[in-house]
């Protein structure tokens, strides 16, 4: 699917016109290939600052040191020793400065706002970031860390931490033209020891299409010792709708990280599923997930081929678009059945059958259509919004035995499904985001892989949009 704007921009007249109209040319995003690397931030300059009383500098310092980054600490003198220790431990030079020099190039910026107690503390965010914003490199990262506003005791503190959301969304829209992303890490009480894997992922080239988002971390066991390479070694995974598109990309990434993957798709697509399974050393399964006996058959197949299941990815989904007035019952029923009912029924069945292991992962594929709505997609959006509702009940229930349940809401992703959208509407869909481009199936796959990893134990009941900072929806 050729990006029309890139092609147009090769014509000087068109490029000039586009410039006048203010349509930004998208920056090709920097994405990492292959399995997770030991030091994903090797050699990158990461500028760190914070508000007074910042709590997470030791975790940030360890994250940056271990990931190979060169930390530049601005102010925050109390935190200097944490960064000096990380520098010593990992053999990195530490730069500690009062103010950023003019020639500083920031590959990433991290602001630790966890110490904010009131609205006056927000000024630290401005003071730190305002001079640095121009220095953010193409495809850079900005991560703002804050606490949960709902856990604060005073209106002022709640305001300060909630303010980070609006700030991140706006700054992301300013920096999107550089291909840079801006996200918030929300650290709930008791989640302080679960920061490293999430921060590492947000700063890496594996989160290229995640923009304007808040990644929440919930209380629980520390993620110390969670592996940063081959995190899914010895684990099993099931991806539905995995014969092609986002599902196939997801299966590939999970296998890259060591998982044995069951590739499930409709019996009609068994050939494609089988060929992918051969490539990945996985197992193909042809099954209509809306069949009455799909649950038992799936549980039996998992028991036979995988032993048990660690990672369950509900990727299979259909669209049967029609405005409501013209929608016949079959379109309604099928969309609800595949996208919603089957997901809940299979999850419940696998849970009850004991097929889903403790400490496992369930990932639901929702959609920004489900969050924002689309004309002609009353059925689709209903199903995708329904998943989010179910998530609210599934996460606490399965969380009792260490299983995390989260949803990913893809924005505009270049797939067979979106290629079928009429060209003009498709172009608009691509451009209505901070990064001004569509994502790739691998962007969703990268996000699923992160959620599936042991280090993501702190992410529970979250809806993570992977949308390039889409303007659509809240």
């Amino acid at each position: 699917m050729a990006d029309f704007l890139i092609n147009l921009s090769k014509n000087p007249t068109a490029k000039g016109l586009l410039g006048k109209v203010g349509v930004p040319l998208p920056v090709p995003l920097r994405r990492a290939d292959g399995p997770w690397a030991e030091r994903p931030l090797e050699g990158r300059v990461v500028v760190v600052g914070g508000a007074a009383g910042a709590l997470l500098h030791p975790a940030i310092a360890t994250t940056l040191g271990r990931a190979g980054a060169r930390a530049t600490l601005v102010g925050q003198d109390e935190a200097a020793s944490a960064y000096a220790e990380a520098a010593e431990a990992w053999g990195r030079p530490l730069t500690h400065i009062d103010a950023a020099p003019d020639d500083l190039r920031a590959d990433a910026i991290v602001f630790d706002g966890t110490g904010m107690a009131g609205m006056a503390d927000l000024r630290a965010l401005y003071d730190f970031l305002q001079p640095l914003v121009r220095r953010v490199q193409k495809c850079g990262r900005v991560v703002v860390i804050g606490l949960d506003p709902e856990e604060q005791t005073t209106p002022g503190a709640a305001a300060a931490h909630a303010a980070l959301d609006g700030f991140v969304r706006s700054l992301g829209k300013e920096l999107g033209r550089k291909g840079a992303t801006v996200n918030r890490l929300l650290v709930r009480d008791g989640a302080e020891a679960r920061v490293e894997p999430a921060l590492r992922w947000l700063l890496s080239d594996r989160s290229a299409f995640v923009d304007l988002q808040t990644l929440p971390l919930s209380a629980g066991e520390p993620t110390d010792g969670a592996p940063f390479t081959r995190p899914l070694d010895g684990k099993t995974a099931l991806v539905t709708g995995a014969a092609r598109g986002i599902g196939a990309a997801t299966a590939r990434r999970l296998a890259d990280e060591g998982a044995k993957v069951m590739i499930l798709d409709r019996p009609d697509d068994l050939d494609a599923a089988a060929s992918l399974a051969r490539e990945l050393g996985g197992v193909p399964l042809g099954l209509d997930i809306t069949d009455a006996d799909a649950g038992p058959r799936l549980a039996a197949a998992i028991a036979e081929h995988l032993g048990g299941l660690d990672v369950l990815v509900h990727n299979a989904g259909v669209t049967r678009d029609k405005t409501l007035g013209r929608m016949d019952p079959d379109r309604w029923d099928l969309t609800i059945a595949v996208n919603l009912s089957a997901v809940l029924d299979l999850t419940a069945h696998l849970d009850q059958a004991g097929a889903l292991r403790d400490g496992g992962r369930v990932v639901l594929l929702s959609s920004i259509a489900g969050l924002a709505g689309n004309a002609g997609q009353t059925n689709y959006a209903a199903s995708k919004a329904g998943l989010v509702g179910a998530l609210g009940k599934l996460a606490p229930a399965l969380g009792q035995r260490g299983v995390t349940v989260n949803a990913i809401a893809p924005g505009f992703i270049e797939t067979r499904m979106t290629a079928a959208i009429p060209a003009a509407i498709r172009e608009v869909g691509r451009r209505l985001s901070a990064l001004s481009q569509g994502g790739l199936p691998r962007d969703i796959a990268d996000a699923v892989t992160f959620l599936a990893s042991p280090g993501a134990a702190g992410v529970q009941g979250a809806v993570l949009r992977v949308c390039g900072g889409s303007f659509i929806g809240a």
Partner: protein, 433 residues
């Protein structure tokens, strides 16, 4: 024949050690290949110990640059020396730690009861490193290798595969990591920058190495460790690379060799060298029965891997603590510390890491730093920077010097640390017997 899998654990003891002088590559030992140097060292060892050939069970040899036609250098040494054919032999390659590896393998075999008397050591002839032609040439000439006759058509076909010529011309051998393509010096330059090791500190360290080596040679303490080697140009008695008169001012004049504006120079990097060393190990019982007084024994050893793309030469900062832990001892317990000086910067990175509590916590899972290396204990008789580094000979040199020093100085313990290409680290703890 020794008992296999003896019920009681046996100890292997170091009885003696000798080495050839270490000379600059393409110098006095030009005509001696790795096998010739190994023969020289082994012959000298046998002469010094007056050990009868019939008592030797095996040779375990180390080498980095192995002759492609005869890579089991240890066996070739045995055959060239006319040792009984029953003297079995193997050759091991673990980059710069090959010599130590050979010696610890021999010790392990003796401990297991597989042998009683083993000669172990290593050597390298940098001068005789084979220069490789492009593999395309080898593949193109396959029909010839397989004995096929070449008619005009086949000959043209072979010739057509020999282009582009750049792919078949010989390549200059370089000490570079196969996985990263980085020269070892470049990797060390990065380590120096990352860990804040200044040019001044490196040069000062290099000068110390030379002065200590020069003093040791002048005082005669190293005399028994060296044996003269006969060459076509006459006998070579002494190490040829030590500079007694060097100074920080002299070293400051040298230009960086691995990076523009870098800190590593020829003066603070170990030089290309030829040489070999051999150590005689026996079981305690055999040493007693044959009338030898042991010098020392291995209390422990350790081999570790680190990421060569990260800090290639930091290995000893992990292997030394591990060897100490296995020995049930601490760095402070050590009377002597011998660290192979691949580059001054590398040693300084390692000692800095050993002294760092943060490093110990993050990389070793310990509460406290391993410890500060006492400069008075470190490489007291000079190191690889001054003496030279014929790759696989260095382990033999360090074991020999440490074992002899333990007796001479009436000391008890020594720890050795060696970094190696490929991102490896080696270490050993020796104790007086």
């Amino acid at each position: 024949m020794p008992a296999i899998h003896a019920a009681k654990p046996r100890r292997a003891v170091i009885v003696a050690g000798v080495r050839t002088p270490f000379v600059r590559a393409f110098g006095d030992f030009l005509k001696l290949d790795a096998i010739g140097l190994g023969v020289a060292a082994t012959r000298a060892l046998l002469a010094q110990t007056e050990l009868a050939h019939q008592h030797i069970d095996a040779i375990v040899w180390g080498g980095v640059i192995l002759p492609s036609g005869a890579p089991n250098v240890g066996r070739e040494i045995a055959l060239d020396m006319g040792l009984p054919p029953s003297v079995e032999a193997m050759t091991v390659s673990r980059a710069c730690a090959s010599g130590l590896q050979a010696i610890t393998l021999a010790a392990a075999a003796i401990e297991r009861g597989e042998a009683d008397v083993v000669i172990a050591g290593g050597g390298d002839s940098t001068s005789n490193a084979e220069v490789k032609v492009g593999q395309r040439l080898v593949h193109a000439l396959a029909p010839l290798a397989l004995g096929k006759k070449l008619g005009p058509k086949e000959a043209l076909q072979v010739l057509s595969q020999l282009t582009p010529i750049s792919e078949i011309l010989p390549r200059k051998p370089e000490i570079a990591e196969r996985s990263t393509g980085e020269l070892m010096g470049e990797a060390c330059e990065r380590m120096a920058e990352r860990n804040g090791i200044t040019r001044e500190a490196q040069d000062a360290f290099a000068v110390e190495s030379h002065h200590k080596a020069a003093a040791a040679i002048a005082s005669g303490v190293l005399d028994d460790e060296l044996a003269a080697v006969e060459t076509a140009g006459g006998p070579v008695y002494a190490d040829g690379l030590v500079r007694p008169d060097t100074s920080v001012e002299k070293l400051a004049k040298l230009r960086p060799v691995f990076a523009k504006g870098g800190t590593l120079t020829a003066g603070n990097s170990s030089p290309l060298t030829d040489g070999a060393g051999a150590v005689l190990l026996m079981s305690e019982e055999a040493a007693k029965a044959l009338g030898y007084t042991p010098l020392a024994a291995f209390r422990s050893w350790s081999y570790v891997g680190v990421d060569p793309a990260d800090q290639l030469l930091i290995g000893p900062a992990l292997s030394m603590p591990q060897a100490l832990e296995r020995a049930g001892m601490t760095l402070a317990d050590m009377d002597l510390v011998e660290i192979h000086e691949a580059f001054a910067a590398q040693v300084l990175c390692v000692t800095q890491a050993l002294a760092s509590g943060a490093f110990a916590k993050a990389r070793l899972g310990r509460d406290q730093a391993v410890g500060e290396v006492d400069p008075q204990k470190l490489n007291r008789w000079g190191g690889s920077l001054a003496l030279g580094h014929p790759f696989a000979a260095t382990g033999a040199r360090m074991v020999t010097t440490a074992a002899r020093a333990l007796v001479r100085e009436d000391a008890q313990t020594a720890v050795l640390g060696i970094c190696a290409a490929g991102g490896l680290g080696a270490a050993a703890v020796l104790e007086r017997v």
